[in-house]
């Protein structure tokens, strides 16, 4: 029996397939494994951020700070490695701890002071972005051996195609995200919280711990994405990853996660990111089309998916009676 809950995810996957096929028919050289792999290579950091964002949105919250935390991570990494000569083996774990801590604090404020996630993470966004400039207002280029190696290493796959180390990290994060979401208590509590916070509380679930954990997780993912972004850009800069929070939110929504919380799949988010990637690829293949069409198309997709969700949830409401 086909389950209704997979409907929106099916729509997402179908959309990706249609777009990819449309691109393949129209442009020579589009239909290749490497094009798909490039989607992963170019969007590895977005994938990682979107996993954290999915969890946050499933609880019915939002995290606007992710882009800034990425920027802050690149900045701190660059500064510590380049200007203070710290070894990457110390810097990278430190970044992950700081990112998690950042998320943890925001989560605690959201839960204990009952301030909307929107506002708290907005403050977090300002703070992280501002702290970048406290370190430096210029770009800091990294030429550390480890970072350049991570950036340039190509992992060759059979058939002549290749991926980067960042892709491996992203795929591991996706896999871990799916595991956490579906096979751990934390994951199920996150879904329960998004379904109904009051019910979760009355069922005796650890609401406070879960909610804070979600923002901590998102902070961790942002920091990890920041590390990957540092590999990708080989620099730290306060303007890195501007507006990435919007891309992440859009991916999550296009991936079929309800913005009101309770329903969503990491797997869908994965395709949500890929759809954004395909749009960009198509636009770059087209040549005459310009990059701003990406934003318009993504806005349009957002609208359609939100409308679609609205219709679905209205149908659920009537079904109950």
């Amino acid at each position: 029996m086909f389950k209704q809950k997979y409907l929106s995810i099916a729509v997402t996957v179908f959309l990706f397939a249609v777009m990819f096929l449309a691109g393949s028919f129209r442009y020579t050289g589009f239909f290749s494994l490497q094009v798909i792999l490039n989607l992963l290579i170019d969007n590895a950091f977005l994938l990682i951020v979107a996993v954290g964002m999915t969890f946050v949105i499933v609880t019915g919250g939002i995290d606007l700070s992710v882009g800034s935390v990425i920027a802050l991570t690149t900045m701190m990494s660059a500064s510590l490695v380049q200007e203070h000569g710290w070894p990457p083996a110390v810097v990278i774990p430190l970044m992950l701890v700081i990112g998690s801590l950042f998320g943890w604090v925001m989560g605690a404020i959201i839960h204990y002071f009952k301030i909307q996630p929107f506002i708290v993470t907005l403050a977090g966004m300002f703070l992280a972005r501002g702290l970048c400039y406290v370190i430096s207002i210029n770009t800091i280029t990294i030429d550390d051996a480890f970072y350049t190696k991570m950036a340039q290493t190509k992992i060759h796959l059979p058939g002549g195609s290749f991926i980067s180390i960042s892709v491996i990290i992203a795929l591991v994060v996706i896999a871990a995200g799916i595991y956490i979401a579906h096979y751990t208590r934390l994951g199920r509590n996150i879904y329960a919280l998004g379904g109904s916070e009051q019910s979760a509380l009355l069922m005796g679930l650890p609401v406070a711990r879960t909610k804070i954990a979600v923002y901590t997780l998102s902070g961790f993912c942002s920091a990890l994405a920041g590390v990957v972004f540092t590999f990708y850009m080989l620099s730290g800069y306060g303007l890195h990853a501007m507006g990435l929070e919007l891309d992440a939110i859009a991916s999550v929504v296009i991936g079929g996660t309800l913005l009101t919380g309770g329903v969503g799949y990491i797997f869908g988010t994965f395709f949500g990111v890929l759809i954004q990637g395909v749009i960009q690829t198509i636009i770059s293949f087209e040549g005459t089309l310009s990059s701003w069409w990406t934003k318009i198309v993504i806005g349009l997709l957002l609208f359609l998916f939100i409308l679609f969700q609205r219709v679905l949830s209205a149908r659920q409401a009537t079904q109950k009676l």
Partner: protein, 507 residues
Amino acid sequence: MSTVDGQEREPILQMSGIYKHFPGVKALNNVSFRLFPGEVHALMGENGAGKSTLIKVLTGVYSIDQGAVTLSGRHVAIHSPLEAQAAGISTVYQEVNLCPNLTVAENIFIGREPRRFGRILWKEMNRKAEQLLRERLQLGIDVTQPLYMYSVAIQQLVAIARALNISAKVLILDEPTSSLDRNEVEQLFKIMRKLKEDGLAILFVTHFLDQVYEISERITILRNGEFVGEYEAAQLPRIELVSKMIGKELELLGELPKAGGEGRAEAKESLIEAIGLGRKGAIEPFDLLIGKGEVVSLAGLLGSGRTEMARLFFGADRPDQGQLLLKDSPGAVHSPRQAIDAGIAFCPENRKTEGIIDDLTVRENIVLAMQATRGWMRRIPRKKQDELADQYIKALNINPPNPEHLVKNLSGGNQQKVILARWLLTQPKLLILDEPTRGIDVGAKAEIQKLVLSLARQGMSVLFVSSELEEVVRVSDRIVVLRDRKKVKEMQEDIGQQQVMQAIAGG
């Protein structure tokens, strides 16, 4: 007070001398409660009697100010729903407190999923859930579907399954039947009887008298946060149950003289008529005619459909069958706005969420409806607003008499008067009052009753909803009695509290 002594058995749960205060409200005042294994015990009471509070105190949602709880002979202090569950007390709430987005199996097991090395074993969980539902509740459904796919009745059973799985000593069912149809109630009762045989103690809250007598052995009645008594169901006649809930001992029910019966015209010209009006799950189709200058009351217990009927007259809810005919204006009533334009006004039961705008001033609240009918362009000039506010503050004796006071800082009775003023300003032909005197002090109550009568004398029709029979009898020309979401009787002549009570009790 006639407390029935239990058999030689020990009660599994005993609560004694429970006090619980909220700011401004004595929610529980020296309440006692006993529950024996293998029984269904009904907890009865009207709105604000303290049933919900008692349950929340018992399940650790609220703290207890004073009093003791013993479970299986041991003194316990329960601080959270989780502790209550651990102690063996589980609750199924009226508004099913599960997560509709999770699967049936998860809703039963969440928080206690079977795991190996931290990994949730879905197959085992699904198998256990299916087995539990089939064996204990005779329910064969696909447990891997999300809960929202199923009817409220099934959701209710899933909630019970969760409760059973957690602990099997005390099961609290808080109005489980209020949104179920007849067959679903039957199914639920069958399951309750079986669970009872298994030795479970069930605390059952409902508003339906028939159901109380059908399923429960023992009844505890609360009123205004006070303990009225504990009775054997078989030895408590319906009418006595109703009178104890409403708060009038039978012998005291002398026929009070009607306050304003005289001087009102006999034959009434009709104003509005409902023909076959109804809404599924709220009120069964009914006919009702309201005449000009007539006071019609809707009497019945909580949950009998009084509020639902009143709301249909105002277009606050959409009827799914029948029609509403207005004698003077041809317009239909599909929304509150249309109702207002047709000269209907409605003071809702829930003042805080549907009546007042708490952050606005008394003046702003008073002029709101009138301003709404005038539209945004034609603002009532400030001077005029002040005059109107002053006039009604005086007329209705609103205290403090300051139009610039924020309405949230007023007492309940004064808030009610503000809403009344809001509607009187629109000079309605029909005024619908849903529990206008609930939760307000005696003085204000009398004032509102007097006001209703004087309005009717001036030719305004009033549809009056109240749980207080004395009040109903005093103000109305005609009483419509509702029971279990049905209009069961219409009484015109010689209305006495006793007859009304009998009609409410039915059976």
